[in-house]
Amino acid sequence: MSHSVELAGIGMTFGTTRAVSDVSFRVEAGEFFSILGPSGCGKTTILRMIAGFIDPTEGRVLIGDRDMKGLGPNQRPTAMIFQSLALFPLMSVRDNIAFGLEARGVGRAERRAKADDLLRLIALEGYGDRMPGELSGGQRQRVAIARALAVEPGVLLLDEPLSALDLKLRQRMRAELRALQKRTGVTFIYITHDQSEALAMSDRVAVMSSGFLQQVACPRELYDNPATPFVARFVGETNALAGRITALEGGLAQIQTALGPLTGRAGQGAGVGQAGTIYIRPEALIPGHGTNALGADIERVDFEGAFALVHGRFADGAALAASVPSTRLADAPLPGQRAAFGFAPEHAVVLGDG
């Protein structure tokens, strides 16, 4: 049974610090939902409010359309996976997994059977009698997930659980988490500061910055149509050129920059005469392309395998990042050269500043 989660205008103040301000969004039942933001943006506070460890100073948390006010973490249909995992080091893996059932007064035999089922689910059959300290990082990760799933939560809350793993393992765990979520159908709310993690796994992502909600959208939308300058800069690499918006027509916006007039899609809040910025993704910048021509001094070309990253400076001093696919490496300019780039208007977005 999975539950929806709705935040209705929640805010949280610790003493004089405003951690979360007026955040509202709804997570549908069975959705894989991520909250993305830099550290200190309030995402962990939101998760702890959903879990019931702290009560919001204003607003309401609804889980399965039921107001959770006054209910502690042990009374909510949520289970949390902690950043440190917080496995109980003095209990066997099986006792760890069965702990929630033990707390609910389930009998020994039934607990054991359920724990063994879950061990099978996480492909750790036969590890039940080991201690958590004897497992590898990835195995401990899976035990933490099994322990949370054992209580059959309607919502699983994950607080950056992959941050302690190395890159390879992290990528494998992403796929495993995603598959597990699909198989169990439980609503996942996943906290991360790693934008590629959020984009790769989630159905939808909420982006947070200094306690404010910036945008809630599916990964593709977030990347292509950032709602705010913060989202444009935080999610994915981007080239930002500031200027003044001079015209809006047919969904396109023209902006006068220090490098001349450029055209991109008109984003949210773009108005004629307003100060604005055009955001161009590195992969949209094509060497020698005729439309929206831009000149830049090349400083460095990093070959990364599938593509090469070209770093440099635009004429107005803004940083340039362009990626050139390896198959077209011959087109890439050389360091020290002055090179021309261009981009198709539909691959850039113009947002009003502020």
Binding site: F53, N74, A79, M80, A86, F88, F99, A103
Partner: protein
Amino acid sequence: MGDLKNRFGTGLSTIFLALVFFWLAGMVLAPNLMMIDYALRPNLPPAALGGPDDTYSLANILYLANEPTHRAIFFKTIWASGLVALVTFLVCYPIAFWLAQRATTGQLAIAMMLIIIPFFINEVLRTLAWFIILAYRGPLNAVLTNTGLIDAPIRWQGDGGVLAAMVYAYILFMLLPIYNAIESLEKAQIEAARDLGASRWRIHTRVVIPHAKAGIATGFVFTFMLAAGSYIAPALLGSPGSRWFTEIIYNWFFEGGDWNRGAAYALVLLVLCLAVVLITLRLFRVNLTDVAK
């Protein structure tokens, strides 16, 4: 040993080792060996020392075994010391948990100060304070009768008074080891247990206490030993019916003039205390090295 030499050179490390050896041999081993020697010999006038009657025997220890009053006081001292340790634990555990997991830095500093400052004062004076509080016409009885909780003053001196004074006197020895142990428990573990639906009782019995086991065992050992060897609290706050074994040892030495019998009694107390400590550690499944930490 080689480590010591590398760090401090031959001269200094020889001095260190000599000091440690002197400490162990002169301050620990020798007095105990002398006590055992005394305990096994009869109490003789100086003229008979070294004479035909000066032979080793278990007579002094058997005297304790065959003296019903002393025997009863001995066993009472043992179980009452256990009770002191238990009550001290019950008082200290919630405080230690609060200090280690809940208190803010400011609260921690103030609470620690309030708990530690009384220990700047001599134990005899602290016990005297209880003597005053618990006096028949003292403040406690005055408060209780004036608020109508009791009709007539209660005679607190006796077992109750001794228990109260000892629990108070040894609180620090229980509190600090438990505090240290709980302090090292990751907060997320308590939160995880709570999140999984565990009641407060279960969080403590399954997560906090197992983690703090070594600290709790240390506290029990300290408190038990101190209580069993305590003299001032039972002397000041006891009644004739609540005599402590140490008082009897004292009497043999300083009133009965029989050092040999006193030494035998002290030896029995020492051995039994050691046994109780080792059994406690066994029950808690804690090593002596854990306690030493």
